[in-house]
């Protein structure tokens, strides 16, 4: 506790290119960009596979790969391929990390919609895309948002690796602290990561309150 107070009360930690605001913004930037890129890939793919039933093996492969993914290894690999200087070395592993939970949950959400409901939708005369966007997506929305939330938390926690390749972020505090045996800084940085992850969690919970229909929310 004292270490946290020391960390946050030290004015040196708040200013300059290595200060808390700058590091926080860097961290946030990696996380948001990686999450958006992952969502841009995983949501359409999950919707398509869930709706058409075609290519469901993609989901299985993706879910399994996620467990075996060596984030740090990929980071280093991308650095070797594209060199330092861009943010790609940190974005690539983060996107790869974020895709599976979004993809799997989107797919499961759509596929799990009651077949009677789907049947009724077609029977009313809705066309394929209308069935997807007017019925399946709203009903699957809680699961889709759950996937995004899980991905966001993982991304925020893992974005600390950016510091390994000199890209900053909150990982910088953790690494610097460890290197100099200044654990005040390490714990302060770790604390900030936790706060950010919890904020993401709260943000998505709030979002599902607003976006999910009350008629669906009760179900899950």
């Amino acid at each position: 506790m004292n270490w946290l107070i020391d960390f946050f009360s030290n004015p040196a930690n708040w200013s300059g290119p290595g200060g808390i605001p700058v590091r926080l913004l860097e961290h946030l930037e990696f996380s948001v960009v990686a999450l958006l890129m992952a969502a841009a890939v995983a949501i359409p793919l999950g919707l398509w596979v869930g709706h058409t039933g075609r290519g469901s093996f993609v989901i299985v492969v993706s879910a399994n790969a996620a467990r075996a993914l060596p984030t740090l290894g990929i980071l280093v690999l991308v650095v070797l391929l594209v060199g330092v200087g861009s943010t790609w070395p940190v974005l690539v592993p983060l996107v790869l990390l974020a895709v599976p939970p979004i993809l799997v949950n989107t797919y499961e959400g759509v596929r799990g919609v009651d077949p009677d409901l789907r049947d009724a939708a077609y029977g009313m005369g809705l066309r394929g895309p209308q069935v997807l966007f007017k019925v399946l997506v709203p009903v699957a929305l809680p699961l889709i948002l759950l996937g995004l939330r899980l991905a966001a938390i993982q991304v925020v926690a893992t974005a600390t690796v950016a510091a390994y390749v000199g890209l900053g972020g909150l990982g910088r505090f953790i690494m610097d602290g460890l290197a100099t045996k200044n654990y005040t800084i390490t714990i302060g940085g770790a604390f900030l990561v936790v706060v950010l992850a919890l904020t993401a969690q709260a943000g998505f919970t709030l979002l599902s309150r607003v976006a999910v229909s009350p008629g669906v929310r009760r179900v899950r």
Partner: protein, 390 residues
């Protein structure tokens, strides 16, 4: 009119769901497809709105082959009601009902107004419109399902076991409601059920199908009961065919006698019981204007003296029917039954078109002892016959 011409549905694995089905579902009438599971009744229904496409043969909707119409367009012109209602859980009831009008591009105000009108029509309170489907009972959801199917006023209604997932009391009230709606709307309805009693109650024509997707018999319900085509149909119809046939004979021809002195009445003329030395004994009532001979007979059997009490719409006694009076009417119909003219229809056809849906086991809105179950038809047993809605 919906016409099946040699319609066959064969799946890739070789199973035949529907085999060379040829029949007509007349305009403005209820045609029921009934049969055991695996008889292809649902498949047949779903081929009409192209949820399934036939392998061979044609289905004509007022002369036009349904295969020539783009499925979504076809379906928007056909009401569709399924077993679990299939309401959209994320939409309010009013928006569920307005689904097809929205699809057809009606403006929002008109679609909503239409939806509210239909909710009222199927007997739902206007305040339910703002609720979500999960907040409604099964029976209410099914009413919404019917309202949704009717929203764009389609001439044809397809109903796939719509009432089989609700409890018997609610089912009866939904059936009565459907008959009441149908007498106003005169839609061409194809109704699928596995319940032969439901088929006989609702159908103007009943198509009995057997496993393998073949038509076993198609006839009016009374004809079906008296003249089943073969052993399969006879077995499927079950017991008490003669008694059940009485549901199609109106009780209005029963000769009524004056109210005897031993029938105790209350101040407003409603029956209290048959007076005896030991106190009042149970009685049974029927409404000659609305009930069937079956209800009248049932009412007679409920009383020790074998006399049925005839009442008006307000349950006030208007006379009694003795066993002899009932016997006369039974005798007339038995005579007609044995008369050598098998193609001459039962009087139910004529009767039904003149006063639509008066006879068959109609509980209607008001209660009546026309179902075979009343155990204690005492004066207090006048509970609401409608389902638990509102």
């Amino acid at each position: 009119m919906i016409t099946f011409e040699g319609v066959t549905k064969r799946y890739d694995d070789g199973t035949v769901a529907v085999d060379d089905l040829t029949l007509e579902a007349p305009t403005g009438a209820i045609t029921v497809f009934v049969g055991p599971s695996g008889c292809g009744k649902t498949t047949s229904l779903r081929m009409i709105n192209r949820m399934i496409d036939a392998t061979d043969g044609r289905i004509l909707l007022d002369g036009q082959d349904v295969r020539e119409i783009d499925p979504p367009t076809l379906r928007r012109g056909i009401g569709y009601v399924i077993q679990q209602a299939g309401l959209f859980p994320h939409r309010k009831i009013v928006d569920n009902v307005a689904t097809v009008p929205h699809l057809l591009g009606w403006d929002r105000k008109r679609a909503r107004a239409r939806a509210m009108e239909l909710l009222e029509r199927v007997g739902l309170d206007a305040e339910l419109a703002r609720r979500y489907p999960f907040q409604l009972s099964g029976g209410q959801q099914q009413r919404v399902g019917v309202a949704r199917a009717l929203a764009a006023d389609p001439p044809v209604l397809l109903m796939d076991e719509p009432f089989s997932a609700v409890d018997p009391v609610v089912r009866t009230s939904l059936q009565d409601e459907l008959l009441r709606l149908q007498s106003d709307l005169q839609k061409t309805i194809v109704f699928v059920t596995h319940d032969i009693d439901e088929a006989i109650k609702l159908g103007d024509t009943v198509a009995v199908m057997r496993v393998g997707g073949r038509l076993a018999q198609m006839a009016g319900p009374a004809t079906l009961l008296t003249e089943p085509a073969d052993d399969f149909v006879r077995e499927f119809l079950g017991r008490d065919r003669g008694i059940r046939r009485l549901s199609f004979i109106p009780a209005k021809d029963v000769r009524l006698a004056a109210v005897p002195a031993d029938l105790a009445l209350d101040a407003s003329g409603r029956p209290l019981g048959w007076r005896t030395e030991g106190g009042l004994l149970p009685y049974g009532t029927f409404n000659p204007e609305r009930d069937s001979l079956r209800a009248a007979l049932d009412a007679a059997l409920l009383a020790v003296n074998g006399t049925a009490v005839a009442v008006d719409e307000d349950d006030r006694v208007i006379g009694v029917a003795t066993r002899e009076a009932l016997d006369e009417v039974l005798g007339q119909y038995a005579a007609r039954h044995t008369a050598p003219a098998p193609e001459s229809p039962w009087p139910e056809e004529a009767h039904r078109t003149s006063t639509p849906r008066a006879a068959p086991g109609s509980a209607g809105e008001a209660p009546g002892p026309d179902e075979p179950a009343p155990t204690d038809p005492g004066p207090g047993d006048r509970s609401d016959g409608e389902g638990p809605h509102g």
